[in-house]
């Protein structure tokens, strides 16, 4: 069934040969030589395999590189002294390259190219995408009188060379429909069509400019363009793997919409998403932006290994960053050097260092997260409150830490350690103090019960106890951390000789690090969120517990401390203390520390007060990026052959050398400098990549066809100068303003010409890459819904907020977790008719309409949607409840019209509404006949049937 529906994308072979550049007199390595090497040589002499140490990916492994034969592989100017020429020309079967049993010999032409290249000096030029764009000169052509700006001059120049001409202008109605859908994802209303057509009659250019400016300023603009971005950053409202739990992260989606609407410059847009948390004094918005990185999948399946999926998320962040901003297949480098592009295996892990030190670790509730107010007017207050809380917490921590380091601690001896269950501890006193650790199987919900004999505590009052928790094997834990621990309550009591118990009250706890996903103070009340190493323990951790008054034991008394660890890792791993020791002190500064009147005490109170204030602001949460404190930093080591279990050398942060040559980076590398590097002046990728994505959205095909690969195995740009021109305009002239670059493109003649396809042109350029006609595109998945709602008058214009649940076919919603309900609002509720972008995105159950129309399910970065054309799509727009309601609503509109206007008039108007033009006579007659015939047989259905036909026209579904 589905075979006739292969995408246009796969029909592009003819077009590609059409685009092949004619060879100029001078040789160009990237253009003339590299493609031959990539096709014939790099399989054995490339990044993955470098037989005889020869690699055609790297200049220094070829030019003047002495191979096994003792002769340079390539000696510039001397083809006859170059091993390469000997190898590709020899008739000796043992020596010939490529090997005769595996490959055909190179053609005469290819050999000639190699000789010419070496003769001319064997210049090794970098692949085009690794050279910074330069401002090209604007070409001229005889077609320029039609040009509406420089974009057209580039395109026309090429058309002229191909002996082609642009098409006539699009009709104003269809043009407005194209502009409206392209810029806002919504079709124009009747009144807009009327107004535009009359303005166009007077001054077409002005009419278009005015309308474009208007469209760019509408809130719908951000909603349309956010979809493109959300595909890249794999936005979803659920976690993905495991139980695919609901994830509350829509504040990020709204941030993206807002960013496009406010025309947030793309450089800031970039930096905030990659490292907003590291900006000085970040605003709530800056932090929300970092949720971009938290769209990685989590695995909440019971029994999974959090560390495995934390690493997977880090890997995904690397790959997504390189794909989104660089269109590079950097993911290849996870396992080996890049087969075609100059990226080394270790550079992957150097880059990993940027992402490897955030606090998130595949935890059940997506910690760490941030609470943001529902009401945008409260953002400023909340930002300030948060800043203050963090500052005070920092001060409190510093105070505690200073005290801790200047305290004279005494190791505790003679401990007895037991548990509440089958977990067993043994105590080792051989070092002169007690260290305890588990033996055998550790059970979940283990409480560690430590009994301190009076001998430790009877001489002097104890003002503080310090609990240190260690990994079972501290030497290996740094690189291969075992499951950690999470303390959710600590109780203490003094037990006398006859067993009477007297509770000891802890007033505060001072942790070893300032702030982590969970709150250290939560160790004191029962069932707190707790303190600990969640989910893994790399280093020894400690917490100081301060009793309200110093503890002093009498002879025969004991102090019993019960540490509750009720939490489990992914439902199965005990988050129990497996090894530890205790220290005590009688330093009375600790008592002072928690006494009313002390500064630290005031701090605690104030933190408490402000935290309560913050929690009272109505709001939602969003997972964010948060850097782990330096003392807990995870070292990053190379994964041998990409295998996380086989760790190699430790690496430090770096940008790949091949790009660093072109775009240097600020010193003191961290995630923030990396983020800034992407949008630095000389970065050759970012601006090109983004304008190419925009181009593809508007014209259906990128200037670089392979949106996902700007590397040397991807396709070359069809119009390299135009790509660079646009990149320079975007980055320099417009200071990264997305609206400005979009405006320039849609104002081009090319975008506004007729999309009629003439058969002759179609044979030459089926993909329309030369743009001798305007674009003709199928509506995107989102537009299919929004368009139907808009023309039928049902569309809600509400912006943002929690995801919504429009009608969904029966039996589809069977989530793994039944509490994740799909409750569709009634027909009188606006939320039933929101724009597509607000629909709940559950990765394991994609909304069927969107999936049918090729929306990805957002597990990973999706650089390009492949359009299909299938019978299942027809079933959606004909039978799906959401579309049936649209047909009914449009039908009712028609009926109202029929009561006052002639039938043909009404149908003509409706046709114009869904297509942007008046119907051809024959089509109108067909519609009238359908209406009249149906009216005879099923009068109550007649208008709905006609409306349904209108909504299902090819012209309604394309623009």
């Amino acid at each position: 069934m589905l075979f006739a529906a292969i995408t246009k994308a796969l029909l592009r072979l003819t077009a590609f040969s059409l685009l092949a550049q004619t060879a100029s007199a001078e040789m160009d390595f990237a253009r003339d030589i590299q493609p031959i090497l990539n096709e014939n040589c790099v399989e054995c002499h490339g990044g993955v395999k470098a037989a005889g140490d020869v690699s055609f990916v790297y200049e220094d492994r070829v030019i003047n590189f002495i191979g096994d034969s003792g002769v340079p592989i390539v000696k510039p100017g001397k083809p006859d002294d170059s091993e390469l020429i000997y190898r590709i020309t020899t008739s000796d079967e043992d020596d010939r390259m490529p090997p005769p049993d595996e490959h055909d010999a190179l053609t005469e032409h290819q050999i000639a190219l190699f000789k010419k290249w070496i003769n001319e000096g064997a210049e090794w030029s970098a692949h085009w995408a690794f050279q910074a764009p330069e401002r090209p000169s604007i070409p001229k052509s005889s077609l320029d009188k039609k040009a509406n700006g420089n974009i057209d001059r580039f395109l026309f120049h090429r058309l002229e060379a191909e002996g082609l001409e642009p098409s006539p202008p699009e009709s104003p109605g269809r043009l407005l429909r194209r502009l409206s859908l392209a810029l806002t994802g919504l079709p124009p209303a009747h009144s807009e069509l009327d107004a535009f057509e009359s303005a166009y009659d007077i001054d077409p250019k002005q009419a278009v400019e005015n309308r474009v400016d208007d469209l760019l300023s509408r809130p719908a603009f951000g909603e349309r363009w956010a979809s493109m971005w959300l595909d890249l950053v794999r936005y979803a409202d659920s976690g993905g793997l495991g139980q695919d739990q609901k994830r509350t992260i829509w504040a990020y989606r709204d941030w993206v919409v807002k960013a496009f609407n406010n025309d947030l410059p793309f450089d800031e847009f970039t930096v905030k998403q990659l490292a907003g948390d590291l900006l000085p004094d970040p605003s709530l918005d800056d932090l929300v932006a970092t949720a971009s990185q938290r769209n990685t999948q989590t695995n909440d399946e019971g029994g999974t290994d959090d560390e495995v999926f934390r690493v997977e998320a880090v890997v995904d962040r690397i790959n997504t960053t390189w794909q989104t901003w660089g269109s590079m297949t950097f993911n290849c480098v996870q396992c080996h050097d890049h087969p075609y592009d100059p990226f080394r295996h270790e550079e992957y892990y150097q880059f990993m260092t940027f992402f490897n030190n955030t606090a998130d670790s595949d935890l059940q509730k997506d910690e760490p997260f941030l609470k943001v107010p529902d009401n945008p007017n409260l953002y400023e207050e909340a930002t300030e409150l948060r800043r203050r809380i963090l500052e005070l917490k920092g001060t409190f921590w510093e105070q505690g830490n200073t005290l801790k380091t200047s305290t004279d601690w005494q190791h505790v001896k003679g401990l007895e350690v037991a548990s509440n269950n089958s977990t067993q501890y043994q105590v080792d006193d051989s070092a002169g103090y007690s260290e305890f650790q588990t033996v055998g199987t550790v059970e979940i919900k283990t409480h560690t019960i430590i009994t301190i004999p009076a001998s430790n505590l009877e001489d002097q009052p104890t003002s503080a106890l310090r609990l240190t928790v260690l990994p079972i094997d501290p030497d290996t834990a740094i690189d291969n951390p075992p499951w950690g621990f999470l303390v959710d309550e600590i109780e203490a009591e003094i037990v006398d000789e006859v067993g009477n118990r007297m509770p000891v009250c802890f007033k505060a706890s001072a942790p070893d690090v300032p702030w982590m996903p969970t709150e250290p103070m939560e160790t004191i009340p029962p069932n707190g969120e707790g303190w600990g190493a969640d989910s893994r323990i790399h280093y020894a951790r400690d917490i100081t517990l301060i009793p309200e008054t110093p503890i002093k034991l009498k002879a025969g008394e004991r102090l019993s401390i019960r540490i509750h660890c009720n939490k489990t890792g992914q439902g199965s791993h005990p988050m129990a203390i497996q090894r530890g020791r205790l220290d005590i002190t009688s330093d009375d500064r600790w008592t002072e520390f928690v006494s009313e009147g002390a500064y630290s005490y005031a701090l605690m109170r104030e933190i408490d007060r402000l935290t309560r204030r913050y929690s009272e602001i109505p709001g939602t949460t969003v997972p964010i990026m948060h850097r782990r404190p330096p003392q807990l930093a995870r070292p990053t080591r190379i994964f041998e052959r990409g295998n996380a279990l086989e760790k190699g050398e430790t690496v430090t942060a770096a940008i790949p050398a091949s790009l660093l040559k072109i775009a240097p980076v600020e010193p003191d590398l961290d995630r923030l400098t990396m983020a800034k590097w992407w949008v630095s002046d000389n970065n050759p990728l970012t601006a090109r990549v983004f304008v190419n994505r925009i181009w593809e959205q508007l014209f259906g095909t990128g200037i670089v066809y392979t949106l996902e690969d700007f590397g040397s195995s991807g396709e070359k740009p069809s119009h390299p100068d135009l790509l660079d021109y646009l990149a320079m305009r975007f980055q320099e002239d417009y200071n990264w303003s997305v609206k400005s670059i979009l405006r320039e493109i849609v104002l081009s003649y090319a975008f506004q010409q007729s999309s009629k396809i003439n058969p002759k042109l179609n044979l030459r350029d089926a993909d329309n890459r030369l743009l001798a006609r305007g674009p003709r595109l199928r509506l995107t998945a989102e537009m299919v819904r929004d368009h139907a709602l808009a023309v039928s008058g049902l569309l809600s214009t509400e912006i943002g907020g929690p995801p919504v649940h429009p009608p969904i076919p029966e039996d589809i919603w069977q989530p793994f977790l039944s509490q994740d309900k799909w409750e569709t609002p009634d027909r009188d509720e606006e939320d039933r008719y929101r724009r597509a972008i607000y629909t709940y995105v559950k990765r394991s159950i994609p909304y069927p309409t969107f999936a049918s129309f090729d929306a990805p399910s957002r597990e990973f970065c999706n650089p390009r949607r492949l359009n299909s054309n299938t019978p299942l799509q027809a079933l959606v727009t004909l039978n799906d409840t959401a579309f049936v309601e649209c047909a009914e609503s449009l039908g009712k509109k028609l009926e109202r019209g029929f009561s006052s206007e002639p039938i043909s008039e009404c149908l003509s108007l409706a046709y114009r509404l869904v297509t942007g033009r008046n119907p051809p006579d024959s089509s109108l007659q067909e519609l009238v006949r359908l209406y009249e015939e149906t009216l005879q047989e099923s009068p109550e259905k007649a208008s709905t049937v006609v409306a349904q036909v209108l909504l299902n026209l090819d012209e309604s579904l394309t623009y």
């Binding site: 069934m1 292969i6 495991g242 399946e301 199987t441 990973f860 090819d954």
Partner: protein, 495 residues
């Protein structure tokens, strides 16, 4: 037959108007031509570098002739215990209740086992069956009777020990979401025999859906048309296949005629071949609206068939799906994927214990599995239909001690990626054999381990594909079902 009357109906209507008839003719050739062109284009772009010139792909022909034309894959979601079904381990019985030797635990990851668990002997008696002498436990009395048509693999291996990633490994060769499933590769590579039905159909037994959901039948980086289509035994058999309330088939036909004529007008003016494709797809949708419900309606099957399978029309069940699978392959569907559920026998609750729910699950699948083999065979379909049965990993010979405790009422086993069984039948496989042997406790392969990629390569081989050539370039790699590394076809399994 319904399909025939439908085509006649459609033909009659198109003859009513001369212009319409002309359109049909034009459309058919136009589409046919386009279809071939796109096929070739996709093939050309699909072949990995170096193969394009020496190995041009035929239209829908596979790389070499093969017996298997269709696949029915039965996946027991949750991973059934091999030690209670097909892998008979008398030694394990003797070790029952003893602490697990440390050598089994070192360097291993477990989902739920903590510390040192105890060994757990087989929970049910085994016997040899048929001329082939296959060992099967007493939980599968019906299936035991067809073992001579089956070949067993005892030593499948995966590297994933959690359900989601492991299920993805089985169906896409990768533990991550976003790669094409076997059904997508196969329908992409072979097309399908009946254009009125989806080429790749997915049937779920009801209960819980697999945790990664649609990703198990996704098309990954292949065009989305190759993803599996879930068909249901109650409600709409395919999403939106029923007309909305009050919309009769006649009314729909009339509306589609208008759509077709208006779209034809659009094509005449704008000349976009996508418009012609859309016309054809709307017509195909109309035919599907008849063909799918017809194929999915098991009520008409005779009593003896219902008896054989144990089917009850209208219910969601594995039995109904087995019968549906036969009906679908009979109608030319290329790949039918069944998912059963509830096989995760940890022993954490009665429903998932070897001494509880496991036995019910065995009862639910025993009869229909056997019926499917019997039925396909007697209809002559087994010889060109490959039937595959598996879970996503095996289970441990140790008793699960979740949370570190040993006092439990229910008996269960943890996940074991090291060795798990599958069986295959029909489609050119060699019946009545057992391939690979596990160690004395069924924990790891002792002889002939079968990594999933080899299993995939063998499946593809049975269908006439060279696993290396069924590839598509994506993100800088020639992507294959078997992954980047070389795989081996297991010749011993092929007749």
């Amino acid at each position: 037959m319904n399909l025939e009357s439908l085509l006649q109906e459609s033909r009659r209507r198109s003859l009513e108007q001369d212009s319409r008839r002309q359109f049909i003719t034009r459309c058919a050739t136009g589409l046919g031509a386009m279809f071939l062109a796109s096929q070739n284009a996709s093939r050309a772009s699909a072949s990995s570098s170096g193969q394009s010139s020496s190995n041009p792909f035929g239209q829908l022909a596979t790389h070499f002739p093969s017996k298997a034309k269709r696949v029915i894959y039965l996946h027991m979601i949750g991973a059934p215990s091999q030690l209670e079904l097909f892998d008979y381990k008398p030694d394990l019985k003797r070790l029952d209740g003893q602490p697990c030797p440390q050598s089994f635990l070192e360097g291993k990851n477990f989902a739920f086992i903590q510390g040192t668990p105890d060994m757990l002997g087989p929970q049910f008696p085994f016997k040899q069956h048929g001329a082939s002498g296959a060992w099967v436990s007493d939980r599968l009395p019906h299936f035991s009777k067809v073992v001579d048509d089956i070949s067993f693999i005892k030593t499948l291996q995966t590297d994933q020990f959690n359900h989601g990633p492991a299920q993805l490994m089985v169906h896409s060769g990768q533990p991550r979401i976003g790669y094409p499933s076997i059904g997508s590769w196969v329908t992409w590579g072979m097309g399908t025999e009946n254009t009125d039905l989806p080429g790749f159909v997915v049937l779920l037994s009801g209960g819980r859906i697999p945790r990664v959901g649609k990703a198990l039948w996704g098309s990954g980086f292949l065009p989305s048309v190759y993803q599996g289509v879930q068909c249901r035994s109650h409600g709409d058999p395919v999403l939106n296949v029923s007309n909305p309330k009050g919309m009769t088939r006649d009314l729909r036909r009339r509306a589609l005629d208008t759509i077709r004529n208006l779209n034809q007008q659009t094509h005449d003016e704008f000349g976009d071949s996508e418009t012609l494709t859309r016309i054809a797809q709307y017509e195909m949708a109309f035919r599907m609206q008849m063909a799918v419900p017809d194929a999915m309606d098991i009520e008409k099957e005779p009593d003896n068939v219902h008896e054989l399978y144990g089917t009850e029309p209208g219910k969601e069940s594995f039995a109904n799906n087995c019968l549906l699978a036969r009906r679908l392959v009979e109608r030319g569907v290329r790949y039918v994927q069944l998912f059963d559920w509830g096989w995760d026998s940890h022993g954490a609750a009665s429903s998932e214990a070897l001494n509880g729910g496991f036995q019910d699950k065995c009862r639910e699948v025993d009869k229909p599995m056997a019926a499917l083999i019997t039925d396909l065979k007697r209809r002559g379909l087994l010889e060109d239909t490959l039937v595959v049965w598996s879970g996503e990993f095996g289970r441990t010979p140790m008793r699960e001690n979740r949370g570190g405790t040993n006092e439990r009422k229910y008996v269960g086993r943890d996940h074991n990626p090291g060795a798990f069984p599958a069986w295959i039948a029909g489609g050119g496989t060699k019946p009545g054999i057992s391939y690979g042997e596990t160690d004395e406790v069924g924990y790891s392969p002792a002889i002939n381990p079968v990594p999933l990629k080899d299993f995939h390569a063998t499946m593809l081989h049975l269908l006439g594909f060279d696993y290396k050539k069924l590839s598509v370039p994506f993100q800088g790699l020639d992507q294959r079902l078997t992954g980047v590394k070389d795989a081996s076809v297991i010749k011993e399994l092929i007749a």
